[in-house]
Symmetry: C2
Subunit: 394 residues, 2 copies
């Protein structure tokens, strides 16, 4: 597990002159006194620590449903390294047979893959008509197919009602349609910003309860900054505040906050909504706005979807790829894209993400000079074929 | 071999109503008479065929050096499907032991891979100090290393003087430094536009002798068009005429010419110089302008090169990737990029290609919302790390 720890507290201290204190919890922010109240978790010690500049980087918390039995043993959130280690230990040592996963987002699907590969019977319960609701329904359906193909029992349009518990341990998952026996349960119901501390000290919150920040990662209080999964972002396509809990965004926000706290001047302009995942042999990627978001915004759009090949058809290892692109109806401005396919499919989303940053129309994209050689792509990259199809419908 | 023929003459005729005549050669264009002189290659027949609109798509020809013995048997250009079939038949049926490849460009390197995999002793002679001169020397050196690692005997800074021939067959390659015994020789010395017909009929030629065309693929003669490897392109970074013989460009030019000949209105704005190749397990990609081109233009530039990993380091299958980016010294405008690495490395060039189309500066690119998940990339994509390094030097 050591390889998963990027930097240890010791390295922070010795090599970077940063006093990183783990197992210390801040329980209160005193903005007027410019201090935080600290509690040491492995000792009965509490005190006030003063600050000149404060960065809040409290991350996100997994959403725990308010249903009977949710606090039973055997129900895991998989939101920290420690909880990942626990799940692995349970699988290694207790040889559970049946796992039920609640929620078909990134965590749910990646855990489905991991547990299927470890030989468990895996069921997945999803409230929506499809998994991966960050994709449009037609693209999400391809992911559902892939899950079923690897043996996951998929229960869509079912909602969690509670858990059956025996001797303090989870024994089954109860939905509105059935009871699923379970030796272990994974909660993959998404996350919410961990912004309680900020809220209690009158730091302004924004989108989905995340800490409101400007482009410099400043909160509404001078000298108080926020970055990462607890902080709000800005969506460069919708031009609206946006909340997303992803490492790429957290990483950039942290860097920008650090430069500014250190007296420099950096800005984080925002995101275009890029995300990527792998479920067994299926690669899934999305960027920009999806149909549901466009409908909520009331924007008129056109879409195009194509099936192609990850490599030239005759080349060994050529796999299927489906690309969908969305554009503004009047102007043809690219608004988003989604990719589901086999090896080599997903990373192509970066072409669409870069094009979103550029504000390209699909017409402008039709002649992008993308790379081609038989091991990598058909002569016209599937992304090009998709945007050309959209361009033709304008 | 059938899988390599995208569309047969029969399909053209039956399904698309196009009278595609193979084994017919046009030997003269009569612009005033609006007709071409046709010779049927498999029959003693010649005639004049009239036209309203004429598209010249005569492609490119491999450069054949003017040295003694070049016309001997066993020397192959590998520029047509038929010559590829011939090389394969020779390898299958005559079991040659030693192959010498002249030239370290795409054809030379891909043939080196193919022949090494078939068990031949392969030598490669390259006039330049490195193979793959479309890369900067430091990046090309990585490709040279890879070739040597798979067992190719690499002779750099050596020039071809001629061939030893016995009974009409090649027996050895003579360079300015040594004699290399050879059972077969592959010429990979590049191509030149096949524009003789156009030149003889006073159609204007441009860059490197390619047929000069405008954005609509029109030549200087009304109703006469050119597209593909015989035609000139425009470089969107240097803003100068440019010649490149690649399928992606030919494909787009052909489409644009077709639309315009059919009475529509399409333009091909130009290329940014993207190309990609695979040599054994090494992926190689480039886009934009390289150092040599920038020096010729007299443009001041800065560069940054980084080494990273194709996936997160702890993820199975993570491989090395080296990314180099070049930017204008004053403005930071991205000018080019090169990638050499293992599986998953090369297709990332499309991010840089799209950014070149957008005219992005490296500063603007520092916060691109590129995709991340451990199977695909480190948290900060190697392309981002490279452009950030360049941005820091501005």
């Amino acid at each position: 597990m050591k390889s998963l720890v990027a930097v240890t507290p010791e390295t922070f201290r010795k090599e970077r002159n940063i006093d990183a204190r783990v197992l210390h919890e801040v329980t209160e922010i005193d903005l007027k006194g410019r201090r935080v109240h600290v509690r040491k978790l492995d000792a009965a010690k509490e005190w006030w620590e003063s600050f000149d500049q404060l960065l809040i980087a409290t991350g996100a918390l997994p959403i725990r449903p308010d249903v009977p039995g949710v606090d039973a043993q055997g129900i895991y959130g998989v939101n920290t390294l420690q909880s990942g280690i626990e799940v692995r230990q349970v699988v290694d040592q207790q040889a559970p047979k049946r796992a039920v996963i609640i929620g078909g987002g990134y965590i749910g699907l990646e855990m489905a893959e991991a547990l299927v590969r470890r030989g468990l019977e895996v069921s997945l319960v999803e409230r929506a008509p499809q998994v991966m609701v960050t994709l449009d329904p037609d693209m999400g359906a391809l992911v559902s197919e892939a899950l079923i193909a690897v043996g996951v029992a998929l229960y869509r349009e079912e909602s969690l009602q509670g858990f059956e518990v025996g001797k303090g341990r989870v024994q089954a998952v109860i939905t509105d349609k059935r009871t699923l026996p379970a030796d272990m349960v994974i909660l993959g119901m998404g996350v919410r910003p961990n912004a309680t501390l900020a809220k209690e000290s009158d730091i302004e919150l924004g989108e989905k309860g995340a800490i409101a920040v400007n482009e410099r990662q400043q909160t509404n209080v001078a000298g108080v900054w926020a970055a990462g999964d607890c902080a709000q972002s800005f969506h460069l396509v919708s031009r609206k505040p946006f909340y997303v809990a992803l490492a790429t965004v957290a990483n950039k926000q942290g860097h920008v906050a650090g430069v500014n706290i250190g007296g420099g001047s950096a800005i984080f302009p925002g995101v275009v909504g890029t995300a990527v995942s792998k479920i067994c042999d299926v690669e899934v990627a999305r960027t920009g706005l999806q149909e549901r978001e466009l409908q909520q915004l009331g924007w008129e759009y056109v879409s195009g979807k194509i099936e192609s090949s990850t490599r030239v058809g005759y080349y060994p290892g050529a796999g299927r790829i489906t690309v969908k692109a969305l554009a503004e109806k009047k102007s043809g401005r690219l608004l988003g894209g989604q990719i589901v396919g086999q090896e080599g499919a997903a990373k192509r989303i970066d072409i669409l993400a870069t094009a979103l940053h550029a504000g390209f129309t699909v017409q402008e994209m039709a002649n992008l000079d993308l790379s081609y050689a038989p091991p990598y792509s058909p002569v016209a990259d599937p992304v090009l074929v998709a945007v050309r199809k959209v361009a033709q419908s304008i």
